[in-house]
Structure formats: structure tokens, C-alpha cells
Amino acid sequence: FQTFEGDLKWDHNDITYKILNYSPDLDPEVTDDAFARAFKVWSDVAPLTFTRIYNGEPDINILFGSDNHGDPYPFDGKDGLLAHAYPPGAGVYGDAHFDDDEFWTLGTGVVVKTHFGNADGALCHFPFTFDGQSYSSCTSAGRSDGHLWCSTTSNFDKDKKYGFCPSELLYTYDGNGEGQPCVFPFIFEGKSYSSCTTEGRSDGYRWCSTTANFDKDVKYGFCPNRDTAVVGGNSQGDPCIFPFTFLGATYNQCTTEGRQDGKSWCATTSSYDRDRKWGFCSDKGYSLFLVAAHEFGHALGLEHSSIQDALMYPNYRYESDFHLHPDDIEGIQYLYGPKTGPNPTPPQPTKKPKTTPSPTTTATATTTESVEPSDSPVDPTQDPCQVKEFDAIAELQGVLHLFKDGLYWTLPASGPPKSPKKISDTWPELPANIDSAFQDPQSKKMFFFSGRKFWQYTGSSVLGPRSLDKLGFGKDVDKILGAITRDNGKVLLFNGERYWRLDVKAQAVDKGYPRNTGEDYAGVPSDSHDIFVYKGKYYFCQDKFFWRMTWRKQVEKVGYVKYDIVRCP
């Protein structure tokens, strides 16, 4: 193994990371899981923890980009150079970049995660049988609405397990459209579009408007690739069109004709000769997990190894049953020492049956999800596990804060919170009972609400108390019970069945509000007493339970605050 000159390494062991964007090749959940597993490769053998953060500056920024992507080292199109990463340090140092001209998979071909249906988001199983016929890609057969679907087992006729395939008609990702599906047709610069487009962009990403008029609403998202999408070429993300003509001949499948490198390609219109639109047909792709594990090795301080079986060897090689090579272990332990102490203790049995994670749920890669039993005696009045309902719960500076009767706990990287702090020690102007709090992701300002008063903290300087009237709330609003922050300078403030959208900069609620919580957030209790965003998911708490909702406003989990959030044994 080799380390960077001067043995560059992190001066702390609790490393944070942020995923800045996603590839259209893989569902965001599959991507999140691949990165979490890649970090776990290293945290399994060295005393390191990796925590994903959504606000603030992390140690490791992760991004997908093509060609010139914002640093002095451009990517080179499909194949060749797959990714790069910087050694530990501030700024771009520690960051990992992945070439989005590659076809990102888990190493064995297209990964299609389903949505909706009855398979709980499982991956498509190709080939599958439907009505006696075999299908090797998503199909709209059997449906009149044209939506593409697949079976998640080999035999739909027998098992009846299915889900819908990624499509811009189901959802978009990134952008500012909050995951809403495309609206077709939509207007962009006065022109009407009936499909995703790369117009207006220099990076080739396909996008659409999530309202009927982009020029007016400026709401957009990126289109997920379909399983039949081509990679690279000049039509990235478009499907092959068969038959197509090339140099006068007709092709009904991908071909290597016209190429010296043997790579399979197709046209994305019916005539290559006329339109010259083409892309590579999908192959096995590169395992995002394996490449990420290698890049994270760089981000932790390892250079390339000369041992061909080592993870830190520079060349890519797919391995289905991956194990870290002793050379990699020696390298990381040279920098950070061996992992000390026992492995994390399995969670204690709780009253709530644990759900078996699906192959794509976030791995318990780091210790962030694990439970550490505590042997030390705890003062019941200061034990968060004895709290029936918290006054407020909020993610502040990337850490979950739980408020109750003048005290607050912060959720550590693992296990339940330890001893509480006094609210007055940290925020001297605040009262003992906080109804809700949030931190604006843009300005980093923290807001606290109690009754009809609110306070604004910027670092240690405070404004307030001020009345809710100042924000435009009517006298009938007695308190703010929860907040859902967004990255666009807006925050949703909840009180039972009503919610408002606050413009943080203007410090005023937007016109058109309040709106009905039950209508816009279907499936969560309208009498939630704590509402907050944590790790990008929305939480609605009622009594001892919480409802967790994705940014697509789908309830994905109902759990116990005490066991699942506070991690009480």
C-alpha cells in the first residue's frame, strides 16, 4: 500500500459526507445504499465512523459529473477513467467524483428499482414471465395507461409481485421540483416540449418541468433513465429505437457495426443516417459500490497499491463476493490504527418487531443506526427514554436535537443520547418549553418557536422574542408545532390541520397559505405534535409513534419515537 506524501489523513475519526447529486442510472436509494456500504468497508477495519449530513460542510462531498465537472481534472466519456478522489483536507480535498458518462450499476447490468406496486420497492427480476411470455426489460404489456412495469420475481403469473419502472411520469430527481413527475407538454423559452430534454443545459442531463410552464414557475427536475436507455453518445438517457437505419442498412438490435472498439450501440431515432443520434447499449456497467469503496480509500489517505487483488489497485475489476485485501487493511490501519473494542452489539430486542431490510435499504454501514446498550445508571428525569412526548424535535447543525422541559439531548452517532444540556446554557434567551425549531439550510439561521413567540439565532446572536404576527400569522394561530425546511429559502410551518409556507429571507408567510395538511400530506396524522426533517425525510410524530415520509410524500415507515429515533434499548 501507499499513502499520500506526508501521510495525509483526517485529524478526526468521525467523518461526515454529503451526496450532492445522483446519477440517472441508479435510483437514489440504491445509490445511497452503495455509498453507505462502501464506507462500511473501511469502518469495519479502522476506528472510523461515517455520518451522512444534509446541511453544512462535510468532510467528503460526493458528486456525479461528466467531462469538465468543476475541477481541473475532466472526465473522458464512457470507460477509461471512472472516478477520482482527493486526499484528506479542507475544500475539495476529501471529495469523490464519479464520471456520469459511465453506466453505473452494481456490476452485473442495469439495476431497476421499482416504485409503487406491491413489491415494496424491490428490484426488477429479468427475465420474468407474464402471461406465458418472457420479458427482459420493463414493459407496458397488460396495461392501458402505458406505464412501464416489471415483475420482481421470475414469474409474475405465479407470484403476482410487481412494481413500476423508473420513469419521468412517476418522479424526477434533484432540481427544485421536489420529486414531482414531469408535466407534459411544458413550455421552456416559449417552446413546447412533450418529453424530457437536454435543451438549455451544457451537461447533457435530461430534465423536464414539473409544472406546465417552466418560464413562469421555474420548477424542474431531472429525468430518471429507463432501463432501455442508452449510455453516452449524444443521446444519453434516450431509449434505442428499433428498427433503425445506419449506412442504408436496417438494424433490429444493438450493433457493433461502424465501430472499431467492439462496443454495442444503437440509434435513438429511426434513422441514424438522417438524425445522427446514438448511444451505447447498456452493458454490465461498473459497480458503484466497488468504485466508491476505492475512491473513499483515497479520501481517507490511501494511494494506489501495486497488489492486483487489493481494492486500492488502480484498475477496475468486478468482484461479486468482495472482501478487503490484507494490503488495504494494513494501509488504513497504518493511518488510523486498528479498530478497537468489540464489534457493535446487536440491538436489544424491543417490543417492535424489526423489519428485515430490503437489499436496497440503507445499510447499517456506520454505527449511526446501531444501538449501544448503556450500563450506567440514569437519572429518570434526565433520561430521554423516559420522555413520553418531546416538546420539539429538530435537526440543527446536522444533529438531531430533542427538547423537553428546559433540557435538550443531541442524538450521537450511535446509541441513545447521553446526558442532556440545559436549553438556557446554549440559547440563553429561550424559554423552557419549545414548541418547534428549525435551521434554514441556506442562511444557517436557527428559529425557535414557543407559543406565539419566536426567536432567531445566528451563531450566538439572537433576535427576539418576536410575535408570530410579524411573520403574518393570524391571531388564531396559537403555536407552531413543526417545521419542514427546504433548500430554497422556504420552510413549511405546521399547526395541526393547517400549514403555512414561510419565506425565511422576507420573514413573511407566502400568499395562498394556510393549506390543509391532510390534503397535501396524505397518510400522516393531522394532529402531529412534532414535525421535522431528519436526514432528508419528513417525520410526523403523534403520541409515541412517528410517520416517516419521503420527499415524494410517500409514507415509508411508521415506527416508535422511543426505539427507532431515540434508540432506547
Binding site: E5, Y73, F75, D79, G80, L81, L82, A83, H84, A85, E189, T198, G200, R201, S202, W207, Y220, G233, N234, G258, R259, Q260, D261, W265, R276, W278, Y286, V291, H294, E295, H298, E303, H304, S306, I307, Q308, Y313, P314, N315, Y316
Partner: protein
């Protein structure tokens, strides 16, 4: 989103690499830190030296020649972080 860049039309036949094996190797050696950027009579000597360095680093047979094993390694997809130097 308002940038307007004309789409480059790429004909599949046109992206054939015209680089010889030697040129491909030079490009690879320079990109990953094995080949110092120098010209003149020293060039071929330094390519041989660089190939040896690369073969040693990648655990290949150290021939100093562009043999098939070396060319295969050059064409294999890889990480963009240089093997030698900063």
C-alpha cells in the same frame, strides 16, 4: 438552465481512435504520472524507463516493452488518481 451549447454530432465510425499503441501508451504514462514531459533524444529512453516504472507499480512483468499484458492494463478502466506524483 439557460446555457445554449450546440450538441456535438458524433458519428460512431468517427470516434475510432487513430492513436497507435505507442501514442496511447504515452498518453497513459503522462496522465498517470510515469512520463515526465520532455522532448528530444531522451524521449524513447524515458518511455522505456516509464514503462518499467508503470509495470513495476501495476505488478506486471517488467519488460520495458509495450507487450500485450501492458497494453491490456492500459486499456482497462481505472481510477483517475495518478499513480506517481501529486
Amino acid at each position: 438552465t439557460s446555457l445554449k451549447t450546440p450538441m456535438t454530432i458524433v458519428f460512431p465510425g468517427e470516434i475510432r481512435s487513430n492513436l497507435t499503441d505507442l501514442e496511447s501508451a504515452e498518453k497513459y504514462l503522462a496522465r498517470y504520472g510515469y512520463l515526465p514531459l520532455e522532448n528530444g533524444e531522451q524521449r524513447h529512453t524515458s518511455i522505456k524507463k516509464s514503462l518499467l516504472k508503470m509495470q513495476q507499480k501495476l505488478g506486471l512483468q517488467e519488460t520495458g516493452e509495450l507487450d500485450s499484458e501492458t497494453m491490456k492494463a492500459i486499456k482497462t478502466p481505472r481510477c483517475g488518481v495518478p499513480d506517481v506524483g501529486k
